[in-house]
Symmetry: C2
Subunit: 342 residues, 2 copies
């Protein structure tokens, strides 16, 4: 395997946020620019990115308001998870050729202090892009939500919305591996619904675009739901609240359907069940749960090497199409993790 050799001056093609979207982001909100990179300072590395991640939470960062991560500054390159090879190094910590994961996505060449780049050890038979999904934030989000937030127990009935997405497919599989008695998912197309039961081992799945999410979940969960992993909010959360069993636990991981709503927010009904059924609803972002990474890595590496995890990736080729990949992911075009291959 050969790696690019650094040329001087080096350039990076990157995506800047130039205005804050109102509703759905459009190409008018971003700009692709190629900049000349400064020479490396002592202690820094330069990395040729191989894969970039586009994720729902980035939509939140495009807004000005308070969120769990600060807004993307205007006029600068956006950030996000990425994995690549070191092509130049002015630190003992990392050598040219090392594989690293980091947060300088949305560009083809990244550079910065060595401390911002973590080694991404190659696992035989496992593609490097999995550091952006199964082995990365997607996998650990599913794992933390189920084990630490929803405190999954053997025999639980588990429901996950957005089930065909990167996190959703992991939630379904981890739930099964942790002893769930029944795993139910919702998705937005007949193809995705079929994939859930045929490939990902879900016991039941339904298409929320067919309407009556409440009724569809009732039918899919005749014995109620013990754990709901919420990727969606809105009507899905109402359906879950309606079907939850006593002592049920809801882990709220995102609310894609609300991110784009700039108008009047629609409220969520059935919150009275929180009291009558003794439910717990907990929101979480990985910001506060990074310390579970080692414990997660043990579980996931074991499952991957035992062949007990399947996954899908939707790969969009070229840094030029990174924004298309993002908007496509927000529309739900992807199956499994949406990845940009540089």
């Amino acid at each position: 395997m050969s790696y690019e050799t650094s040329t001087s001056p080096a350039h990076s093609t990157q995506w800047n946020l130039v205005s804050r979207p109102s509703g759905e982001p459009t190409s008018a909100n971003v700009e692709k620019v190629t900049i000349e990179l400064p020479a490396l300072a002592e202690g820094e590395v330069r990395v040729a990115n191989k894969f970039l991640s586009v994720d729902p939470y980035m939509r939140g960062r495009m807004n000005e308001g308070r969120s769990y991560v600060p807004p993307f500054p205007l006029g600068e390159a956006m950030t996000g998870a990425a994995v690549g090879h070191v092509v130049e190094s002015r630190t003992e910590a990392l050598a040219v050729g090392d594989t690293v994961q980091h947060q300088f996505g949305w560009r083809d060449v990244a550079q910065g202090p060595a401390s911002a780049f973590r080694p991404a050890p190659r696992i035989p038979g496992v593609p490097l892009s999995l550091y952006l999904s199964v082995l990365g934030i997607t996998g650990i989000t599913a794992w933390v939500g189920l084990t630490q937030i929803a405190k999954i127990r053997e025999g639980d009935v588990v429901f996950v919305s957005g089930a065909a997405g990167g996190v959703g497919t992991m939630v379904g599989q981890i739930a099964r591996l942790k002893g769930a008695s029944r795993v139910i998912g919702s998705a937005g197309s007949p193809e995705k619904v079929a994939l859930l039961t045929e490939k990902y081992g879900f016991d039941a799945a339904f298409n929320y675009k067919d309407g009556d999410v409440i009724g569809q979940l009732e039918k899919a969960a005749p014995d109620g739901v013990d754990v709901y992993f919420d990727n969606v909010g809105g009507e899905h959360l109402e359906a879950a609240l309606n079907s939850m069993n006593d002592g049920g636990r809801i882990a709220v991981c995102g609310a894609i359907s609300a991110y784009n709503s700039s108008g009047e927010e629609k409220g969520v009904r059935f919150l009275g069940n929180i009291v009558t059924r003794g439910l717990t609803i907990t929101g979480f972002t990985m910001t506060n749960y990074g310390h579970f990474a080692p414990q997660f890595a043990v579980d996931m590496t074991t499952w991957l090497t035992e062949g007990r995890i399947v996954f899908d990736e939707t790969i969009v080729n070229g840094i030029d199409h990174a924004f298309d990949a993002f908007t496509g992911m927000m529309r739900g075009d992807n199956i499994g993790k949406m990845i940009v291959k540089v």
Copy 2:
């Protein structure tokens, strides 16, 4: 002190539920009847009730639907907390003159197996009616919600809705005793608001009937809210969600304002903050937390004997007015715990 002597046959005046209310309960839904009591069986006691409790949760029991406690059966006396003296006993466990607490409220004379009656030891200087409030379900609900559900920490800013009610006034005081840095309450009249800051030691209070609950809470909590004790739901929950700090905890204890709504339910907005701020919302009823009673009793008896707890009772005289006491409590006529003195 003298106790009534049992006459045979004994009678009990009791309140039966005869139809299920739609919306606000009216006198057409209940019937006051006087029945002849059967002679005591072996192992039973007869108790002359002295004080009866009327509580918001009883409204839920008047409905047919699933709730955290089964519905009141139609055509039978309703139940609820009560305290009284044993007037006749066919068990070694309890003697005539013993003071007991139990669940056969809504009547002036109760009888049943000794196991259904728990001793209510007299504490010098503490009125017997406090077993229905500070020392009873009201006090332990506040204590459990703050210490076990919301996991209050020293320095927390605590907000409680329905603050002038039985549970609310306890929440404010226990929050302070557990080290809250700021205690905020909402209530439904200027008199109640004044009582909160002047008598119960709240740092700030506002009248939710003045409108703009969201804005009023923002003003009362310039540094945000860490713990919200929710007695109300609806717009108060929205206001809390809007003002919660990162890692905030919401204990949901009831939703009085929703109990009477038989029409289309209004949804709650701002649930997106559950994720962005990493909030936890937990519903609870005392059904699952009774095992904390001994721990609670130590705290509360200590505070009472040290004079660190103040309380209000609104006492309605006579079994004949028990239903008026209940509807008045639901309307918010009471200050502190609503009690029926038999």
